[in-house]
């Protein structure tokens, strides 16, 4: 019974708590050319993601504002840190890998891991503890789904997860 803290620390690592408490890139980008709103109606998590994407489709800047649980805020904060210099195809690979981690799909993880840098893998793995908390997966993936919508030229610009 006394391993309860260890068990919870698997999810609430210091890095996550730090990003949750002091989110990086927590600001609006007035000149953003991609923007989307993400909302989790069940728990009220809400965030606006701002991106500036250059003519070659590379993300120049990424930032967000919003409110939510430690998991969604930390996920958004860490996501904005690794987006700079990536294009839509690379973002998709990051998301596939991250989603595989969160849902513990080992095949997806193996298939997507080889395309990513060690640095990105290490950052994304910080949130992998969420796989033991199935109802919290949507918190961790909300920023990523919002990102997909922001980058999709036909996207709804508004995502809701259940």
């Amino acid at each position: 019974m006394n391993d309860i803290t260890d068990d919870l620390r698997d999810l609430y690592q210091d890095l996550i708590l730090d990003h949750g408490k002091n989110p990086r890139n927590f600001r609006a980008i007035p000149e953003a050319n991609c923007e989307a709103l993400g909302h989790n109606p069940l728990c009220g998590d809400k965030l606006v993601l701002y991106l500036t994407v250059d003519d070659n489709g590379l993300i120049e800047d990424a930032a967000f504002q919003g409110s939510g649980c430690a998991i969604s805020m930390a996920s958004a904060s860490m996501m904005t840190e690794i987006l700079k210099g990536k294009n839509a195809a690379e973002v998709q690979k990051l998301f596939d890998y991250f989603y595989g981690l969160c849902t513990d799909h080992i095949e997806d993880i193996a298939a997507t891991e080889k395309n990513l840098s060690d640095d990105d893998i290490a950052r994304l793995q910080a949130l992998s503890g969420v796989k033991h908390y199935p109802v919290r997966v949507k918190c961790a993936t909300l920023p990523w789904r919002t990102l997909q919508s922001a980058l999709d030229p036909h996207g709804a610009r508004k995502v809701a997860t259940e």
Binding site: L8, K21, C43, C69, V135
Partner: protein, 411 residues
């Protein structure tokens, strides 16, 4: 409750509920999510099982023995419900699939018949979505106006607030008896007096009240009263709409189908009188039997005994949680029942919910299907603890230890 034992609450009652006797993540389950739905005592499960095993058939149809037994038991529950809420007549009790359907039924039948464009339906800011959205649907369909009486920062609904929102155009007042998000007990009897003074009927959403306090619809002078069985230790899929006989009689049918007609021809169909007019099709018969068993269970204990027990739990929990300097109770109206919502400075309600769950404590985190309340209180969500008759002060101590763990993790 086993035979020959006196009725009870707290730890002794917990033994009547098989689901409570289990470990969650290695800890004994502490079930504090009764506001969302309550666990079921053996007597409810057994009554439904026994009914399916020996008396099951469709009701109001057959000349055969089983159909008669099923019909008798089903109709006997109508009488049980009548006594439980002290309605005047058993035919004022309409079975619905829950409180949500009960309110929708009033909107779809009484509302469509009697409300005209520009008429006002008055609700309060603390309503559950199920007492907001049915009226918004009518707003779109017939152009009625939804008026909202504001709540105080404490989450209270002063009578003055309702008085000020009433207008000559008000045609219905529809309010919660107890707020599901804050626990506020509304002055529904006084609200009904105000409304009746200008001949306006009153619907009371009693979902969070019937399992926690004695309810007497005649004394409240409610025109409609709605509740669900599943929060009252009964099964899901069944609820009750009480309506005064003279009002139900004026209402057109809700759904068309079998069991709600006297005769059908292609020239003319004649509907049955209430309550059958509103119960088209084969109802959830076993669930009605289960509701009857649940009501008998709580009546044997005594609603006043349950109310007293839960009031002492609420007082104890309020005292223990007030000792946390980084915790704020949301909803501090003087008259509250069984529900405590709170927020913590450094931890989001959802994170509180996860950390408590890992210690076997089930609470609700979120907006509780009452988003306007969250907006008024200027918070995205709360953590909510809601008590039932089987909860104990020891479980509140476990909650306190759980919240200390939240503090430890979130610093």
């Amino acid at each position: 409750m086993k035979k020959n034992e006196s009725p009870h609450v707290g730890k002794l009652a917990a033994a009547d509920f098989p689901a409570l006797n289990q470990q969650i993540h290695g800890y004994p389950l502490v079930y504090f999510d009764n506001g969302a739905s309550a666990q079921k005592p053996c007597v409810v499960l057994e009554a439904m099982q026994r009914f399916y095993e020996s008396d099951y058939a469709n009701i109001h149809r057959g000349v055969h023995e089983l159909s008669m037994r099923a019909t008798d038991q089903y109709e006997a529950v109508r009488e049980t419900v009548r006594q439980f809420i002290n309605a005047r007549h058993a035919d004022e009790i309409v079975f619905t699939k829950g409180a949500t359907e009960a309110i929708n039924l009033v909107a779809a039948t009484w509302g469509r018949k009697f409300l005209k464009p520009g008429d006002e339906v008055l609700i309060t800011e603390l309503e559950h979505h199920s007492n907001i959205v049915p009226w918004q649907l009518l707003q779109e369909q017939i152009g009625l106006v939804l008026r909202v009486a504001p709540i105080t920062p404490e989450g209270d609904v002063p009578l003055e607030s309702v008085r000020a929102a009433l207008s000559p155009r008000t045609k219905l007042v529809s309010v919660a008896h107890v707020s599901n998000a804050l626990g506020t007990v509304l002055p529904v009897r006084e609200i009904a007096q105000l409304a009746h003074a200008q001949n306006v009927p009153v619907l009371i959403d009693g979902c969070q009240a019937v399992s926690h306090m004695p309810v007497d619809v005649q004394s409240l002078d409610a025109d409609f009263y709605a509740f669900s069985a599943h929060k009252l230790y009964g099964p899901t899929g069944i609820g009750v709409l009480y309506g005064k006989q003279e009002i139900l009689k004026t209402m057109p049918p809700y759904q068309g189908g079998g069991d709600m007609i006297d005769s059908v021809s292609f020239k003319e169909t004649i509907y049955k009188p209430p309550p059958y007019r509103f119960e088209a099709g084969t109802p959830p018969i076993a669930e009605v039997i289960g509701l009857g068993a649940a009501i008998e269970y709580v009546r044997a204990i005594g609603m006043d005994v349950i109310a007293q027990h839960e009031a002492s739990l609420l007082a104890y929990a309020t005292e223990r949680l007030c000792a946390f300097n980084d915790l704020r109770i949301v909803g501090t109206a003087p008259n509250k029942a069984s529900i405590m919502s709170f927020v913590m400075e450094r931890a989001h309600p959802h994170d509180i919910g996860t950390i408590l769950d890992r210690q076997g404590i089930a609470i609700r985190a979120g907006h509780h299907c009452a988003q306007p309340v969250m907006e008024v209180m200027d918070i995205p969500a709360t953590a909510r603890v809601s008590f039932g008759l089987y909860n104990t002060t020891e479980e509140i101590d476990a909650l306190v230890r759980g919240l200390e763990k939240v503090q430890e993790i979130f610093g």
